[in-house]
């Protein structure tokens, strides 16, 4: 009787170890469907969820965490450790222009949207490069065509977009209800990006030094 319980615990631990290993080596988030196929016989989703929650708890005090995003589960570094990681690869990731970000926002919040819809809202022509940038990143794709002359493509965001922004679904996108309240913030941060950027460049170095100071 004792032995059987012990065996069961060992079996659970082994399954956890296998799941953990699979998640650590995978390039992409793994869905419950994919994870279930690792075992023979396959495990049902409830069993998997229990194990995944346990793994998540096991890692709760560590430098990486198990998170659930749109297309499944993945390990990622905790944000507190990002600054150490950044020291390993000093090159900064490219920043998206305001045009790209606004186009992305319109597609994310108003999807599906045609290029014409985007142009109506932004009041300027949308260069094909902007859409190509977003498609190239795998964040948007054409999911159909509107039945009007020219049959323009309808853009929508992808699962990859949600994954890359650490979201589980479109419902997790920031709510826009509060935007009028934040007018003052908009004026300083979003409305005047040129000003903002110049300030940023100037203040960045000292703030990094401050970080380093606390770390040491």
């Amino acid at each position: 009787m004792m032995d059987q319980t012990q065996n069961e615990i060992n079996h659970q631990n082994e399954m956890k170890q296998i799941l953990e290993t699979a998640l650590l080596v995978s390039h992409e988030p793994l869905s419950l469907h994919q994870l279930g196929k690792i075992f023979e016989p396959e495990i049902d989703n409830d069993g998997l969820r229990t194990l995944l929650e346990e793994i998540k708890a096991d890692w709760s005090e560590r430098g990486i965490e198990l998170v659930q995003v749109a297309s499944g589960w993945r390990f990622q570094a905790r944000s507190e450790y990002q600054r150490y990681i950044n020291r390993l690869s000093p090159e900064k990731p490219p920043k998206y222009s305001r045009a790209v970000l606004e186009t992305l926002a319109i597609i994310a919040y108003r999807q599906p949207a045609t290029r014409g819809d985007i142009e109506d809202i932004r009041g300027v022509a949308v260069s094909p490069n902007i859409l190509k940038t977003l498609e190239g990143r795998g964040w948007i794709d054409v999911i159909g065509h509107r039945d009007v002359p020219g049959r323009p493509g309808l853009y929508a965001t992808t699962k990859q977009f949600l994954d890359d922004l650490n979201l589980r679904s479109l419902q997790d996108l920031p709510s826009l209800d509060q935007f009028v309240v934040n007018e003052q913030m908009l004026l300083t941060e979003a409305m005047m990006p040129a000003v903002e950027q110049i300030n940023e460049e100037e203040t960045e170095t000292p703030s990094e030094e401050a970080d380093a100071g606390t770390a040491a």
């Binding site: 990622q76 570094a77 998206y96 300027v124 979003a190 040129a194 000003v195």
Partner: protein, 272 residues
Amino acid sequence: MSAVLEETPHIARIYGEPLLQMPQDLYIPPDAMEVILDAFEGPLDLLLYLIRKHNLDILDIPMADLTRQYIGYVDLLRTSQLELAAEYLVMAAMLTEIKSRMLLPRPPKLEEGPEEDPRAELVRRLLEYEQMKYAAHKLDELPHVGRDITLVQVFLERVTEERLPQVHVGDLQAAWETIVARAKNQRHHRISRQELSVREHMTRVLRMLDHGRFVEFIELFNPDAGVPELVVTFLAILELAKERLIEVTQQAVYAPIYVKRLESEDDGPDTE
């Protein structure tokens, strides 16, 4: 006038010199125009900037002021960067039209429905655009994989278990049939089960005769195998002789018959 501008040390650089303050009368040196306008994403963006900068109520825009300021910018824009001006000019025309409609004496109020404010459509567009600007800002604030999130990916040696192609008997048959069909000399290459068994024994006999060893003829036969196989083995030896792969020798009548491969003495398979 604007808290933002007062707090900001400078808003742009012109030829390396900081532009310390946005001119009160909105006069901007033409050289600075490029810098300033690069900061705007279009006429709606510029309008919003003017509205917010002067703390105007977006729902009750003083059209005369706004139009004058906007056209001031656009005029400057036209002197420096004409090709950028088209969208801005359309907006200038629209603002002027709204302004003039508001100046006109209002027609006697109709019974049905509230009077439509000529600014309504502009306000709707401004609010919608502003909301999307806010959305863009919020999206940019979210952590991004590659910028704020680093994914874990542990090395996996995939070569440890090389998968070899699987071949099924049917594949061989199909391959053979393809060759024969292509060669169009089917009759010559037709292969029967009997011929296959002869070929199998040809290979067996050749393997027995490694390195030019003489083997006695009868050693090549397996007496326990039964008559059909003895016959097939004999056919195999004949076929090997015919294809000049072996040599069958007998020194004298009734002397033992010896079989050897037809190749030089000092030759081994590894010379190839």
